[in-house]
């Protein structure tokens, strides 16, 4: 059960480098239990690096990352593996194992972390596929899925262990508006039905504002806005306004030009 007053994720003074380049410059962030936090920013802002630190895939030069109260960079390896069983991640590419079917992909965490029999695992996989509206597609291989279906299958695998924390990397990137909106609805439904704490990294403005309880805007490795949708919209920071206005202007004022540019016709 989620408790909105408690903190599920805490990042303090996080500093990260790629070679000599400082990518994160002392990031402080906390995500409350049961909320959807959207991390957004333009390319190169450091949002993917921040996500990799939250997942424990990178080791920080300085700072602390706590998931469910545990410092993931100081946990012994086996305790970290245990903690990871309570975390689900849907990668941007889906990262589904190409040698396995969709259902086998979803069953993999169950197979590795539980003593359930094959039949029960199949039932759970079917249920999770239904949750993400992919019922009947379990027998397909990942390369037989469309982009949107692969992302939904990745979500199904991410939630198969009923995690406390769910991380989604660019869940609607590269999808058409209808599919993108369906994915957003799905994320909202997961939060409401499963009481998860969800962190979404995206550069899709529309999607970010549709799903976020709170937003964190990154620019050049620093948080330049953090708060509710209204607080971010009303931010006095010029960089935040540039980010918000640039995209909305492109999409709403001249959609034809935006589409032409997207397809390289300008």
């Amino acid at each position: 059960m989620s408790d909105p007053s408690s903190v599920a994720i805490e990042v303090a003074g996080l500093v990260s480098y790629y070679g000599q380049r400082q990518v994160l410059k002392g990031v402080d962030l906390s995500v409350r239990d049961g909320e959807i936090m959207v991390i957004m920013g333009s390319s190169g802002s450091g949002k993917s690096t921040l996500l990799n630190h939250l997942l424990g895939l990178l080791y920080p030069a300085k700072g602390v990352v706590r998931l469910l109260g545990q410092d993931i960079n100081r946990l012994p390896a086996l305790e970290l593996l245990e903690l990871r069983r309570r975390i689900g991640v849907a990668f941007q590419s889906g990262a589904l194992f190409s040698s396995l079917t969709v259902a086998e992909n979803i069953m993999l965490p169950l197979r590795e972390h539980s003593d359930l029999d094959e039949k029960t695992m199949e039932i759970i996989a079917r249920l999770k596929l239904e949750v993400v509206n992919l019922a009947g597609f379990g027998h397909l291989k990942p390369d037989e899925l469309s982009g949107g279906m692969a992302k939904r299958a990745a979500l199904a695998r991410a939630i198969v262990m009923d995690p406390r924390l769910l991380f989604c990397d660019e869940p609607s990137a590269g999808l058409d508006p209808v599919v993108s909106s369906a994915i957003d609805e799905l994320i909202l439904r997961l939060r409401d039905a499963m009481r998860m704490t969800i962190v979404v990294v995206t550069h899709e403005l529309e999607s970010a504002f549709r799903i976020a309880d709170r937003l964190c805007v990154l620019d050049q490795g620093e948080i330049i806005a953090l708060g509710s949708k209204d607080e971010v919209r009303q931010s006095a920071d010029e960089r935040v306004q540039n980010l918000l206005n640039r995209r909305s202007r492109e999409v709403t004022l001249d959609p034809d030009a935006y589409v032409r540019r997207l397809f390289g016709e300008e």
């Binding site: 424990g56 975390i87 991640v89 990262a95 194992f97």
Partner: protein, 266 residues
């Protein structure tokens, strides 16, 4: 000129450091694989027997047709060459001894190692490289599935079992091929040929070939895994590192073979 020399020295230095780095990485992978093989079950991260069997089938059973063809051909070639050489001394009747020792102590393990390096070592590098660029290894990590335990330990065990087994098979096929040629050209019966072979071989000769093949198995696995794990730059990177893994594995096999012969045979 001094500038060119210092540039050359720098390149050699960098290549040496990179080589040492890779050797160190391979040693860590070997250590971790052994750790998971021994303690995995107790730490709730077992190395799956089903996964080892699947790898054993791919590495071993699927390689039998091409290995049979190659080693049969080499057996015949050795017989032709052996008879031609011994004729100089009028000692063609001793050809079976020469063939038996050459096949069992040297050629079978070498040819099997080279074939498996080209076939399974490259496949391992390509598979891991593709998994890396598709974020599948990251996906394993964040699912709490230890990648070395899941991806490295099973092929390592399968190789260590299957390469010596294939070497044994190569002994039989090569000796059979040579036997067919010797009996058809030297006017001796197949039974007499087999007796000469059995008389020529001792347990030490058999264990010499098999011990080498077990070392080759470890080398092929580690070279494949290290090259796969170092893939960068998409599909082109996968191709580059796959080729590199074949070249490195074959070089490692030939050099180890020479060291082994130097240490044991003289």
């Amino acid at each position: 000129m001094p500038g060119r020399l210092s540039g050359l020295a720098e390149r050699v230095g960098r290549a040496t450091l990179q080589g040492l780095d890779e050797v160190g990485f391979a040693a860590v992978l070997l250590g971790e694989s052994l750790y998971w093989l021994v303690l995995g079950r107790r730490k709730r991260q077992p190395v799956r027997v089903s996964s080892v069997f699947r790898q054993a089938r791919e590495i071993g059973i699927d390689a039998i047709p091409i290995l049979t063809l190659l080693t049969f051909t080499i057996g015949v070639m050795l017989a032709i060459q052996g008879i031609y050489t011994l004729r100089t001394f009028g000692a063609e009747s001793r050809v079976a001894t020469g063939i038996a020792l050459s096949v069992v102590r040297e050629f079978s393990s070498l040819i099997t190692g080279v074939l498996i390096a080209g076939r399974s070592g490259s496949a391992l590098a390509a598979r891991l490289g593709t998994m890396k660029i598709n974020q599948e290894i990251d996906a394993l990590t964040v699912m709490g599935i230890e990648p070395v335990r899941y991806l490295v330990a099973p092929p390592l065990v399968a190789m260590v079992v299957m390469v010596p087994a294939l070497t044994m098979w190569s002994h039989l096929v090569a000796l059979f091929g040579a036997g067919l040629y010797v009996t058809s050209t030297q006017g001796i019966s197949f039974g007499a040929y087999v007796s000469q072979v059995v008389e020529a071989l001792g347990l030490g000769d058999l264990s010499h070939g098999l011990a080498k093949s077990a070392i080759f198995a470890v080398l092929i696995t580690l070279v494949g895994v290290v090259n796969g794990a170092l893939v960068t730059g998409g599909a082109e990177g996968v191709g580059r590192m796959t080729t590199r893994s074949v070249v490195h594995a074959i070089s490692a096999i030939v050099i180890t073979d020479m060291i082994f012969a130097f240490a044991v045979t003289r």
